[in-house]
């Protein structure tokens, strides 16, 4: 898949040779681990890679976003709006929150979890009842799945992040062996098997 360059007549645009990936979720869902796996897979494939993540709040229930960029030579670790090739999310509204980073023809992989923020529970805001419809409207190319359910059936609901990664993999164009080696390098041996199976299940769903 090739990204379409933005209309040069309308104004400035970015270099487009670098592949950008965005991962979104809530603290504790394994977003940072998933980010590490993507970055390692790109590194193993011989590419330059940069990642960015916001620390500190990951265990405090806040939104968590990780960005990974890889290619021949990567400059910015931050993804510009409208340029990510793939967005992976483990929570519905966190996917919507990052939606403007995705390229117009980019792929969104969203797990159907709904995690109610305290702002909603305490009555300051409401969780959109039409979240799924919004996802379908915001993302023309959407893989919508229950990654937690798939992971749970495989034996560990915490491997939901690997299910989402698996569903993203085909669109990222990295070799299978790089993914496997990256997963092996990032997951403790006793959890490796279920995570490899979760990744494979995600690939099939994608």
């Amino acid at each position: 898949m090739k990204l379409q360059p933005a209309n040069a007549e309308a104004g400035p645009s970015l270099r487009q040779e670098t592949t950008s990936v965005v991962l979104a979720g809530v603290g504790g869902q394994g977003i940072l681990l998933a980010s590490e796996i993507v970055a390692r897979a790109a590194m193993i494939a011989g590419l330059d890679v940069k990642t960015n993540e916001v620390h500190g709040m990951a265990q405090r229930g806040g939104s968590v976003v990780a960005q990974i960029r890889f290619g021949a030579e990567v400059f910015s670790p931050l993804v510009a709006r409208g340029t990510a090739r793939v967005l992976g999310a483990l929570e519905r509204i966190e996917a919507l929150r990052q939606s403007d980073l995705l390229a117009p023809d980019g792929l969104a992989v969203v797990s159907s979890q709904m995690i109610v923020p305290v702002t909603v529970s305490s009555g300051q805001a409401s969780y959109p009842a039409d979240a799924e419809a919004r996802l379908r409207s915001a993302f023309p190319r959407l893989i919508y799945l229950d990654a937690v359910d798939i992971a749970e059936q495989l034996g560990n609901r915490r491997a939901a992040n690997l299910v989402v990664l698996g569903a993203m993999a085909a669109a990222l164009g990295l070799p299978d062996e790089s993914w496997r080696e990256a997963i092996r390098g990032s997951i403790k041996p006793r959890h490796l098997d279920v995570n490899l199976r979760a990744f494979a299940a995600g690939r099939e769903a994608g």
């Binding site: 104004g11 993540e53 620390h55 500190g56 910015s76 670790p77 109610v116 305290v118 529970s121 305490s122």
Partner: protein, 588 residues
């Protein structure tokens, strides 16, 4: 061998490879992981969390004067605390290399302000290096130590959130062995800054600055990248990476050694391009200097001075420069899809011991002067029970100031255990000495929680994992002259409210130590998850005022998320119907 390292890991690696012998600091986002990484080499490098940044800086200064290489790490506001030793160490100078790693937080992801540490380089007349990725972060620690030794000056390495917390590829090397003999050499004219010696140091400081400027012109840390002639961009740090994305055709003067300014290089660059744009994050330090050199340039007229830069921000700057607009197709989702999403700010964790204190304070008509740590989150709804936040230690001292001003309501100061050791003790001393009447609550969760659970003098354990004396906050309070010292369990709401009411009503100062460990740190829960007896629930919403993330409610009867609930039972203590039940008892 290449590895994918964060900027902070790379800085630690650079310190290890450069033969650093002493590394000190105080935790602060985004700098914390530097020492946490470096301590893996504790067989080679002595590492410590000092009580605060001033202490850390001075310990590193002592190591340097004994001839060892040293680094000290902190976040930007930490350098305010350490400014005193910095300003005069610039006079006395260093022996072994000393690099102060200071991490700025443009955009205030995790900070109370957005100050630009580059001002400190000029203010203190010390050189500053600014890496733009992890590879440079590692290399510049080594370069900084070399500059420090050659010119006998402390060096500041300025990182930022996006440098410290981005990962990129770094080639690893082995550790260099120091050739410098250890041993302090007596030299009062150099190391004793009494006025008659300091005047000589003052002259040498300016001479050194001139030599540093010359060296900056020749340094490989500064380079001209020649591309087009039409536009030349002067930039440094992470902004360089964004420039390469957004202005691929522009020539670039990439500054890594950012102070003192390499004037000859700036002039050479300016002569070879038609227009100059300065792209710098935060203040217009470079721009003002380039203008002062008599070189016309643009900068803050198109690049924002508030918040962090990004490719998107620079795309807008570029559009402004070209008189064009951002292409509409860059945005994929409409505001109807994302415009009204509920926020998901950080919150006190389920089972957090701070929650009970704020709930109890909401039963008292007081002003609460707050401080910096996880408990700062108590300022946000629905708890909304912290009224001020200034800097570390000010939770204590501002309470005293309000009290002495005649504030009509009673004033309660609140701060954490690590913050108490950082800069709460002198404030407490002030309250006792000057006959104040404030109530000071130390929410002692036995760790430095917000930055990721670092030990401190109250924990009985050092960064290197050694046991150490466990300093008692209560004993320190009594030693300061506070006569009313009481320890409470914040999960016992009834007793907490009663103790606080008694302390607040008193005409004497009180120190209330609220002690319960951070559950994330001890990796425990307090009991089995609760659940709501739907028949008993009156839907009054009292439990939701606790702001517990385990309590989910979109209207009607709340639900306990069993994956998050830590079993603290606070919800049942505030529930008028006692509608929360424990699923099953577990032996604790």
């Amino acid at each position: 061998m290449k590895e994918l390292l964060s900027g902070n890991e790379a800085i630690a690696r650079g310190a290890y490879e450069a033969g650093v012998a002493v590394a000190t600091g105080y935790p602060g986002t985004p700098s914390t992981e530097i020492l946490e990484t470096l301590v893996r080499f504790k067989g080679d490098v002595y590492c410590e969390w000092s009580p605060n940044e001033k202490v850390a800086f001075e310990v590193a200064a002592g190591a340097s004067l004994s001839g060892a290489r040293a680094i000290v790490t902190m976040k930007h506001v930490g350098l305010n605390v350490a400014a005193d030793p910095l300003m005069t160490l610039a006079y006395t100078g260093t022996v072994g290399g000393l690099v102060a790693v200071v991490a700025d937080d443009p955009g205030m992801h995790s900070s109370q302000n957005e100050q630009d540490t580059r001002h400190f380089a000029r203010f203190g007349k010390v050189p500053m290096l600014e890496p733009s990725d992890s590879r440079e972060a590692k290399e510049m620690v080594v370069l900084g130590l070399e500059i420090s030794e050659e010119f006998q000056t402390p060096v500041i390495l300025r990182s930022s959130t996006r440098v410290s917390h981005s990962r990129s590829l770094v080639t690893l090397s082995s550790r260099a062995v120091s050739q410098r003999p250890l041993g302090f050499e007596k030299n009062p004219a150099r190391f004793v800054s009494v006025p008659q010696f300091a005047r000589g140091m003052r002259v040498r400081l300016e001479e050194r600055l001139a030599r540093l400027s010359e060296a900056a012109n020749r340094s490989s840390a500064n380079r001209i990248e020649r591309r087009g002639r039409k536009l030349g961009i002067v930039t440094s740090g992470i902004a360089y990476q964004y420039v390469r994305e957004v202005f691929p055709e522009a020539s670039v003067l990439k500054l890594g050694w950012v102070y003192p300014f390499p004037n000859a290089l700036i002039r050479e660059f300016a002569a070879a391009v038609d227009e100059i744009l300065i792209v710098e994050e935060l203040d217009d330090i470079l721009e003002q200097h380039v203008l002062a050199l008599g070189i016309p340039c643009q900068g803050k007229s198109v690049v924002p001075r508030i918040g962090e830069l990004s490719p998107d921000v620079l795309l807008a700057s570029r559009a402004k420069l070209d008189g064009k607009t951002i292409p509409a197709e860059a945005r994929t989702a409409s505001t109807t899809e994302i415009g009204d999403l509920p926020g998901r700010p950080p919150v006190l964790c389920a089972g957090c011991p701070h929650r009970g204190i704020y709930h109890a304070l909401n039963k008292c008509n007081v002003v609460v002067t707050g401080d910096i740590g996880c408990y700062s989150l108590g300022a946000l709804p629905p708890l909304s029970r912290m009224d001020t936040l200034l800097c570390m230690g000010a939770g204590v001292t501002m309470a005293h100031g309000m009290d002495k001003a005649g504030e009509p309501r009673r004033v309660v100061g609140i701060l954490g255990d690590s913050t108490f050791f950082h800069s709460g003790i002198t404030g407490l001393l002030d309250i006792a000495y000057n006959r104040g009447a404030s109530t000071i609550i130390v929410v002692d969760n036995r760790t430095t929680a917000m930055t990721g659970h670092q030990p401190h003098p109250g924990t009985g354990r050092t960064l290197m994992g050694d046991p150490s004396p466990r300093v008692s906050i209560e004993d320190v309070g009594r030693a300061c002259g506070i006569n009313n010292v009481v320890t409470i369990d914040p999960y016992d709401l009834k007793n907490t409210v009663s103790v606080l009411k008694r302390a607040i009503a008193s005409d004497e100062p009180w120190l209330v130590v609220s002690r319960a460990p951070c559950l994330l740190d001890v990796r425990q829960t307090l009991g089995s998850p609760l659940h709501v007896d739907e028949a008993a629930c009156r839907e009054c919403g009292a439990c939701l005022k606790l702001g517990c993330p385990a309590l989910e409610c979109g209207g009607g009867i709340p639900r306990v998320n069993p994956l998050l609930c830590a079993g603290c039972g606070l919800c049942n203590q505030v529930c008028p119907a006692g509608a929360f039940e424990v699923e099953k008892e577990v032996a604790s």
